[in-house]
Amino acid sequence: MEYFQFLIILMLSPLIQGIIRKLKANMQGRIGPGIFQPYYDLIRLLKKDMVISGVTSWIFKATPYIVFASTAAASMIVPVITTKSPFDVMGDVIALIYIFALGRFFMALSGLDAGTAFGGEGSSREMTVAILVEPMMMLSIFTAAISAGSTNIARIAGSGLLFSPSHILALSAFMIAIIAETGRIPVDNPDTHLELTMIHEGMLLEYSGKYLALMEWAHYMKQMLLFTIAVDIFFPAGISNGTESLALASSFGIYIVKILFMAGLMALVESTRAKIRFFQLPSILGGAFVLALLSLLTYIMMSK
Amino acid sequence: MIAILLIPVITAIICYALKNHKLISYMSLIGVIILAVFSIPIITSSVSSPIISLNSILYMDALSGYIMALVILLSLASGGYSIGYIEHELKIGLIDITGVRRYYALFHLFIFTMLLVVVTNNLTVMWIAIEATTIVSALLIGLGFTKRPMAIEAAWKYIILCTVGITFALLGIFITYYASTAVLGTGGVLNWTTLKAIAGRLNPATMKLAFIFVLLGYGTKAGLAPVHNWLPDAHSEAPSPISALLSGILLNTAFYGIIRFVSIVEPSTGSNFTGNLLILFGLVSMGISSIFILVQENYKRLLAYSSIEHMGIISLGIGIGGVVGIYGALLHILNHAISKPLMFFSSGRIQAHYGSTKIENITGVLSSMPLLGTLTFIGVLSLAGTPPFNIFLSEFTILKAGVDKGLWVAVGLFLLFAVIVFYGMLSGFGKMLFGAGNAEYDNQKIIKAHYTGSDIFSYTIMVVMAVCIISLGLTVPDFIDGTIRECINVLGVR
């Protein structure tokens, strides 16, 4: 079972997306599509023909595979329901972030490949956001890693951390990082194709059919992966340390609850905040960086 | 030894008597070659043991031999280079046949005076010889050769300043004589050998005074700042082969006088006095010249300031003293005497080609004349004190000597000035060497016209010098090393 825990992320990620959308719609007083809508979307896309710009090169075609494969590989590293993950020797949390970066790198390239202004704009903004997010994310993870004495996610999760001021600070920073990474309000608006506001969608503008399905799916997976990392690192309580099926089952239940909580949080944030101007991003992301920095400093001061 | 002195005089007379410029130039070349051939046995024997002749007026030891070897080598190079140079000047009408005769005659007289400086045992005769070099070379710069008023101005300043300076040197010599009378009882002496023997017993206060005058006097002649002012003018206005001689050895012969004097004064005053003065003069020279190099607009003047800098370095080396310091200084004399003439030769070529001595007027030498450009580049790097070229080695030796003595301030300033000089040299010559060749000057005909027989001869000389620069940068051959060691012995440095 522990060999296949990544399949949870693979299979359930569209569901989480659907739940967030549904919650968001409810909070905004709409009925909204059903929580399985993302699955339908994916199936619909997989059935369609593809229209590809003649300007593009092989990079454009390779990108969906690279993005999907890298996200899937990342999900193998992360312990979902048990810390006895057999694949975690592959890499640690730093490797994870860099595997994400690989996907982002190629996605940004594919944005430039078609030679349109939208794609370039999307790539440019995506990379800019990444510049602001990555150090902050790294720093907040450092706090956890240092206190656990390891960068291995399973070990951090297995160390059963208690909350401390520094962890709360780090968690807040990490949450902001997740918002930015998953392209949610107030950083990006996932529901729009208006060129002035879109970031993530801009890069995907030229994709269609199966490739778009892969890209979207990878995006859902990344979102769920980030939630999983957050719960693994910052509130790992309940995750199983063994492989007995009973423990796994309870662990799975707890996991689902945690993830749903995260999804609810996202929906809440998205519903209560407005999308902010792109050039105001540095102020909130910079603020998050300060939070992460403070978390590290408090940890060092308090451990002294 | 007397033959050596006579050969240039005879050559000078013959050159003046002849009427055909080709004949004169080859005669002159033959003259220097004969001189070289004759000098070899004398120099080698002088290195192993001192020679005294003519009622002990003439005297040669390793140091004299060393400097004489430089004089003769450079005379060869410069004599060979002169042929092409004068041919060119004749062709463009800057000089007539009378001028050619005068030029070669004075050229050989100049050699004679310099040889006289190094072979004499008597301080006053040495003084006379040095004064004679001033007169002869002033004529070479200013009279009957080029018809430009600037050359006259340069020669005038040169002769006035050097004569004034050297007057003080003679005063210093008189005072030395005076000091020696006290030691020897009745008549004093001016023979170097005798003075060296009694040096320890001379009155320190008197010798200090004498040294101040001599240092100022010969220092003027050697181009030490702040009494160097004639040097940039004279070097830049003289014909290139003469500039080479002036810079390569004339300065060194003046310095030879200082070195001799130091070895007399030091035993009585202690090495601190002479050392500090020399270090002071050395650093001031380096400092002033480095600044002038930085903002120089005329490449021949730039080279002249570089001579001042190198004289400063030599002075520093002598001042620091000790076996290593003197070794470095003497090695530096040799290295400078190769690199600087090469630069003057090549800049003479550049001047002939572009017709200007302004840096801004010249660009792309490397593109239009690759060989000349490369030679110049080697020379520049060498003069800027860059490894793997020769001058770095001697500079580093001097630095090491400075560190051995713990003279950190001197070492630090040395490096600072060296960096400024590097910047100045490279920015000046960089502008000339690099960049695209100017189309106007890139005329193939002009370039072709330059490779006549005598030009190939000049280039051969320059290439040989460049090879020396590189090989001396990598290793100092045993015979040179041994000679310098012997010189240090002669000076009595432990």
Binding site: - | V125, A138, L139, P149, M150, A154, W156, F168, L171, N203
Partner: protein, 219 residues
């Protein structure tokens, strides 16, 4: 012995005269008077050498005195006068600074010389004053060269320096071999002649013997 002592004061007296002739240069306004001052100076010098020769009875010093008189006292002044006549220019000295200041600085120079040539330097003989005076003459000669605009005066300044030098030479080294003295003299004579040639050249090239024009080469 009495003769000796007497002679001492005579030597001092004459050397003071040489110094005065040099100092007088500061006040002279015309080139001709400068040449005259130089002539006087040279005569005094050869007289002094003659007296020294008489004192120690060395023959070669007599020769030296005679040669000095001939070259410095007669030949060079004649040569200078000829140049001055050839130049056909104003015969003013054209100093850069006023006579008063010039004299003051000369006085300071003399004081500096007296102050810096201290007791310890003198090891033997009778020549303390003479050495100081000769160095002072040399410096004043140099000072004249610095402050006068005309090329001819430069040469005269130089000649004053040489006279000072000779004075020093004879006072310090009266046993120097004649051949060397002659050599020095010859050298200097050559120097002066060549300088003269240059003065004429300068006049030709720059249409003036004013040294202010000779500032093309700089930097």
């Amino acid at each position: 012995m009495k003769n000796w002592i007497q002679a001492f004061s005579v030597i001092d007296f004459i050397s003071v005269g040489i110094l005065l002739a040099a100092v007088a240069m500061n006040a002279l306004r015309r080139i001709e008077s400068c040449v005259r001052a130089y002539t006087l100076n040279s005569w005094l010098l050869s007289l002094l050498i003659g007296i020294v020769a008489f004192m120690i009875g060395e023959t070669h010093l007599y020769i030296a005195a005679a040669v000095t008189l001939l070259s410095k006292g007669i030949a060079i002044p004649v040569f200078l006068r000829r140049i001055v006549r050839q130049m056909k220019i104003t015969h003013d000295v054209e100093p850069y600074i006023s006579n008063a200041l010039s004299l003051t600085i000369s006085g300071i120079l003399v004081a500096v010389v007296y102050a810096s040539l201290k007791e310890g330097i003198f090891v033997a003989g009778f020549s303390k004053n003479v050495l100081q005076i000769s160095v002072a003459v040399i410096l004043i000669g140099l000072f004249i060269m610095i402050t006068r605009r005309k090329a001819v005066i430069q040469v005269i300044g130089l000649l004053f320096m040489e006279n000072g030098l000779f004075l020093a030479g004879f006072s310090l080294t009266f046993g120097m071999p004649t051949i060397i003295e002659l050599g020095i003299l010859f050298d200097m004579l050559m120097g002066v002649i060549i300088l003269g040639m240059f003065i004429i050249q300068i006049r030709r090239a720059f249409a003036s013997a004013d040294l202010d024009k000779l500032t093309v080469l700089k930097g």
